[in-house]
C-alpha cells in the first residue's frame, strides 16, 4: 500500500489513477496511522513552497514524513513535493523545507538563458547521471512532462537525472530511501508509469 499524502495541495486524481493503472494499491490520506502503516509514501504538491510547508506543518505532517523517512521507508516527492525534500527554497522569500536532501530550491530564471519561457512547460528528455532504482527501466533520452519555475540546486551525488533547458536542471534526486521527481510521472505517459512502477515494486539497493 502506498500512502499519497493529502495536505490540501494539488490535484491527486491522476496520481492515484496512475497507480491503479499499474496495479498498485494506494490511498489518499492525511491520517498519521495510515501513513505509518503504508509500505511507501508519495509526497505530491503543486503551488508555492511556503504555503505547502505551512500546510504540512498545520497537522504536523512535516514531522511525520521526516520520521517515516528516518525509519528507512521509501518516500518519493513529486514536483513541489520533491522541492519540499530540500533544506530551503527561495520562492517568495526564504522558506525552510524538510531537509531530507541537502540543497536549495532556486528560480530557474537565475540559470537559464533570458528569453526562454518560465515556467518550463512541456516534455523534455532525461539525462541519467547516477543509478537509482526508480529510473532503472527508463532509457537515456526518454521524455517526461515538466511544469516548473524553480529547480533544486544540489550536489551531483544526489542527482539521478537532469534535463536540459539551456542549463542542466535537476529532474530526479535521491538520498538513500528518499527520492523525488521534478516532473510529473503521472502525466508522463508510459515512461512515467514505469517510474511509478519501479518506485512501487522496486528495492532501493540496485
Amino acid at each position: 500500500m502506498i500512502a499519497i499524502i493529502d495536505y490540501g495541495v494539488g490535484n491527486l486524481f491522476s496520481l492515484s489513477r496512475s497507480l491503479e493503472a499499474i496495479g498498485e494499491e494506494s490511498v489518499i490520506t492525511n491520517d498519521a496511522e495510515t501513513i505509518q502503516r503504508a509500505g511507501k509514501i508519495i509526497l505530491p504538491g503543486v503551488g508555492a513552497f511556503g504555503d505547502a510547508m505551512d500546510k504540512l506543518k498545520e497537522n504536523r505532517m512535516d514531522e511525520l514524513v521526516k520520521r517515516q523517512a528516518a525509519l528507512g521507508k521509501p518516500l518519493m516527492g513529486i514536483c513541489l513535493g520533491m522541492q519540499l525534500l530540500f533544506e530551503k527554497s527561495l520562492e517568495f522569500g526564504e522558506h525552510g523545507g524538510l531537509s531530507l536532501i541537502p540543497g536549495t530550491v532556486r528560480p530557474i530564471g537565475d540559470v537559464i538563458d533570458p528569453g526562454l519561457k518560465i515556467p518550463q512547460i512541456g516534455w523534455n528528455a532525461l539525462r541519467k547521471t547516477n543509478p537509482y532504482y526508480i529510473l532503472k527501466d527508463v532509457k537515456e533520452g526518454e521524455c517526461v512532462y515538466f511544469v516548473h519555475s524553480y529547480w533544486a540546486d544540489t550536489a551531483p551525488e544526489y542527482i539521478i537525472a537532469d534535463t536540459e533547458y539551456s542549463a542542466r536542471l535537476t529532474a530526479t534526486v535521491a538520498n538513500g530511501n528518499v527520492c523525488g521527481c521534478q516532473f510529473h510521472p503521472e502525466k508522463s505517459g508510459n515512461t512515467g508509469l514505469r517510474i511509478l512502477k519501479s518506485f512501487a515494486q522496486g528495492e532501493m539497493n540496485i
Binding site: N11, A21, K117, W123, N124, Y165
Partner: protein, 252 residues
C-alpha cells in the same frame, strides 16, 4: 531541449466525439476515451477536450468521460468549452483535467482569469483566443466566431497573460479550415507580445505545415489540430518522425 508538442483536439457533445473518426483497430469511433487512448499511444503530447454540450445532462456526461479518460490516459489533458466561473474550473479539475482553457467566459468576465490563476496557479489557466483580421486589424471574436467583440487581438491576449493565463492557444479564424498552413504572421505577433507558451491552431493541412510552423517560428511551443488527425490525413507518428528528420525537437 524542451520538445515541440503535438496536440489533437476532440470536440465532445453529450459525452461523444462529434465527428466520427475511423481508425483501424478503433471499434467505437465516437468514444472519447478510446480515441484519447489511441492518440496517446500514437505519441500525442497532450489532448484537448472541447465540450460543445449545451445541456446540463450533457455536462454531466462530459465530466463522466473526462474522469474515465483521465483514469486511463496519462498525458496532460486540457479542457475547454463552457468555462464561465471558477466553479467550472473546479468541476473539470476534479475529474482529472490538468489545464482549463477559457475563451468566451473570459471575454465576458476577464477577472475570471485572475481568480482562477490565484486559486489554481497560472500553469492551469489557458487563454484560447479566436482572432480574425478586420480591415487589416486583429480582432477577437466570440461565440463560435460569430460575434466581433471589438477587442484588439494582441492586446487582449497580452491582458489575459498579465491577468495570469499561463498558456495561449491562438486560433486564427482566417486560416481555420482552409488547410493552407498556420497563420504565421498572426502567431509571430502573439509570440512577440507574450512570454508564455503559445499553441498554434487553425490551418494545418499536412505535415509540412507543422514543419514550416516550428522552423519559421521557434517561439511557438505546440501545434494543435483536429480533423486532419481524426480523418487520418496526418498520422501523429509520421508527423513526429518528420519533425525529428527536420531537426525539430520532438518526443518520439
Amino acid at each position: 531541449m524542451i520538445t515541440k508538442r503535438i496536440i489533437p483536439c476532440l470536440d465532445v457533445r453529450d459525452g461523444r466525439v462529434v465527428k466520427g473518426v475511423n481508425f483501424e483497430g478503433l471499434r467505437d469511433v465516437n468514444s472519447p476515451v478510446a480515441l484519447a487512448q489511441y492518440y496517446s499511444d500514437c505519441g500525442a503530447d497532450e489532448l484537448v477536450f472541447y465540450d460543445i454540450t449545451a445541456s446540463a445532462d450533457g455536462r454531466k456526461l462530459f465530466t463522466d468521460i473526462l474522469r474515465e479518460t483521465a483514469s486511463r490516459v496519462f498525458i496532460p489533458l486540457t479542457v475547454g468549452g463552457g468555462i464561465n466561473t471558477v466553479e467550472d474550473f473546479d468541476r473539470v479539475l476534479k475529474c482529472g483535467a490538468d489545464k482549463v482553457s477559457v475563451n468566451s467566459g473570459a471575454i465576458r468576465n476577464p477577472s475570471l482569469i485572475d481568480a482562477a490563476a490565484r486559486r489554481y496557479g497560472s500553469q492551469c489557466v489557458v487563454i484560447s483566443a479566436d482572432v480574425k483580421r478586420v480591415d487589416g486589424k486583429y480582432r477577437v471574436f466570440a461565440a463560435g466566431n460569430r460575434i466581433d467583440t471589438g477587442r484588439e487581438g494582441i492586446s487582449w491576449i497580452r491582458e489575459c497573460v498579465d491577468r495570469g493565463a499561463g498558456e495561449v492557444v491562438l486560433n486564427s479564424i482566417d486560416t481555420d479550415g482552409v488547410k493552407q498552413g498556420f497563420d504565421l504572421e498572426m502567431l509571430q505577433a502573439v509570440c512577440d507580445a507574450v512570454n508564455v507558451p503559445v499553441i498554434a491552431s487553425g490551418g494545418a493541412g499536412c505535415i509540412e505545415h507543422f514543419i514550416t510552423l516550428f522552423k519559421t517560428l521557434p517561439k511557438v511551443d505546440a501545434g494543435l489540430a483536429a480533423s486532419i488527425f481524426h480523418f487520418g490525413e496526418v498520422k501523429i507518428s509520421d508527423l513526429k518522425a518528420a519533425m525529428a528528420e527536420n531537426g525539430i525537437s520532438t518526443r518520439l
